[in-house]
């Protein structure tokens, strides 16, 4: 298997075979990332396509300051966010002050669930909630960072995250999974 350095160098030379290798190596994981941010699989394919075109055209800007996979994931997330921003899913949202008392906590009783089921749960979230949940709970961004990335208020990010967790909890309970989350 080619190492990251060889892959990047090959892509810089616009070697089609190396580009194909890079795609085959990372496209699977990155496709799931895309599907976490958008519900429509066609949209996810579009985002993945756009992201890889960006990756190949701007591969020179990658200087191995971070793992290649992290950089690729960041490009995919940025492409997805750009796609989502056009849809303005945060209009008519509520700030966290109104929802803070009902903030649910993390649920740690779901170790046996596979990613397809959880992916489906995430995809069923409203777009705004879905995006904030992905960025906060999975990618690890803070609310101020999310607010800056999405050009929204920090309170909006918090309220969207709270709503996402609430909806996920309700869905898990309705599907028969215990939702006995405890404060983290």
């Amino acid at each position: 298997m080619q190492d990251d350095y060889a892959l990047v160098e090959g892509c810089r030379r616009q070697d089609r075979s190396m580009q194909r290798l890079l795609y085959e190596r990372f496209a699977g994981k990155l496709f799931v990332v895309c599907k976490r941010y958008v519900k429509d699989p066609d949209e996810a394919e579009d985002i993945l396509q756009d992201a890889f075109v960006k990756i190949y055209r701007h591969i020179d800007s990658f200087r191995f300051e971070c793992p290649l996979e992290a950089w690729l994931k960041r490009v995919v997330i940025n492409t997805a966010l750009k796609h989502i921003r056009k849809q303005k899913p945060w209009e008519h949202t509520t700030d966290v002050q109104e929802l803070a008392p009902v903030l649910p906590q993390a649920d740690e009783s779901l170790p046996t669930l596979n990613y397809q089921y959880l992916l489906q749960l995430i995809q069923e979230l409203p777009p705004g909630c879905r995006t904030v949940f992905n960025l906060y709970a999975i990618e690890g961004y803070t609310h101020p960072e999310i607010a800056e990335m999405l050009d929204i208020a920090e309170g909006t990010s918090k309220s969207q995250f709270a709503r996402a967790r609430s909806l996920l909890q309700q869905k898990l309970q309705s599907d028969g999974h215990p939702a006995e989350g405890r404060p983290r």
């Binding site: 496209a27 699977g28 799931v32 990332v33 949209e43 396509q49 890889f52 740690e108 959880l118 999975i138």
Partner: protein, 536 residues
Amino acid sequence: MDELEKNMPDDFWRKVFDEAAETPPHRVWDAIERRLDEPDSTKILPLWGTGLASSRPLIWGTRVAAAVALLLVGWWAIQTLPSNTPFSSTKNSQLAQHTPKSNPASSSQGATRTEQADGAKSSAHTPESVVSAAEPDAKPATKTLVPTERQQLSPFKPYPTNNALAVLTSKPRANKAVGSTLPMTTGQLMQVRSVAQMPNTEAVQALIASLTTSRAVATQADAANPTVTIAFEPLSGRSLSLREFGQIHRIVWFRPAEPELTPETSQSRQKSRDVWASASVMPGSFNPMVAVKSASYASVGSASLDAIKASTTSQQNVSSRPNFSVSYQAGAGVQLSEHWSIESGIGYLAGRSTIETPSPLSSASLQAGFIQNSSSSNLYVDALRNSIHRSDLAYAVPQSNYANVSNSAYQNSYNGQLRQVLTNDYQYMQVPVQVGYQLRPKKKLSLALLGGIITNIFIRNTVDNQLEITAKDGVYRPVSLAAAMGARFRYRPTRQWSASVAGMYQPSLGLGTQSESQVQTQPTTTGMSFGVDYHF
């Protein structure tokens, strides 16, 4: 620790998705490869870059400029495009006009269809028109597409087993319908079997949407082989894009069939050619600017007005003052273009002026011996009388006296200090021809600049109710020209009626008297015209 201040990613969710992978369809890589083969011609302006380019005023200014440009383009498009008949009102008539005999190729271009059409109206559909129909509907409506299609296509059950093969091609975008073959029947376009073969309802939407912008060519096989092959050729330029978010699920660019532009253009030209008739009255002032020739310039023949004024002033012989005048005019006009118009008519001018003329010295009057009517003896009247060329006139004077009046020695026989004041009543027929330039066309309150020529036809001049000079006397030119210039406000409260107010200045172009006449005039009229107009 407050999780809202320092985020710790949820380990459960993170672990689940860290290793999750799902192989994307092959078409994604194909599309990427095609895009990589294309030249990267897109140049991005760094409006959101660093430095000045990132300043908010510049960004907002750019946005505002773009918005204004878009508004202008939109306004232009609305102005230039003919008014489209609502689709719902035209589709039925179009449907009714379709017959099974319609040419497949031609019907594919002009026919439109709606799935909401009732069964009775859809009975006129041909299979070809259905294939080429437009479907500008939102996504929720497409869920009812299948049963509705059946209703519409039911009249074509004579071809129930006709199979169609639709081959779709598209842009590099990885669409599930791209490159696939779709078995379907012409009689039942979207059977459940066909739908089941499609990946999902979005793909069905994609197919239907692509049908709206495709030209369909259908070939009907003979009865023995009821297979129909339909080849779709997608129109270039727009790839399918089905987005699902919010209330707007899909935007379909649809343009209904447009009527011929040429007849509309000619109609609009005819409509914009406004024709009106007008009647107006113009009170004002009329100054004939009378002068009596002196010997010094009588020999010159065609003296200019300035020369007349200078001579008159220097000798203090005759002076005229403007007085009240009124003119009546009936005319008609026509709008030549949006701004230009031309108008003409006929009018009557009654102009009054006051003349101050020296009286004769008593001794000179006796010595002259040629004045038959002593009651009207003054320089002006004498000059008028001596200018008359009619031989049948009772007070016609010999030509020899003309030289006497114009002679400076003779004029010296009049007393410059003893002056008589006479009134002159001029009467003219007028034929104006003038063009107008509309500064505010098609407004309720319009403003036009007017300019043109007025033909003044001399009728008579009555001097102090004692002497009447007509056109036959040969003193005044029977026809003289005057310029006309002014501005007119027109208020048009209704489509047919309007009222106008105009300020006019009408200086004469040349002398109003014959060249051999001893009296010379160059009348000028100034006034304010009030009129009403009837627009046809």
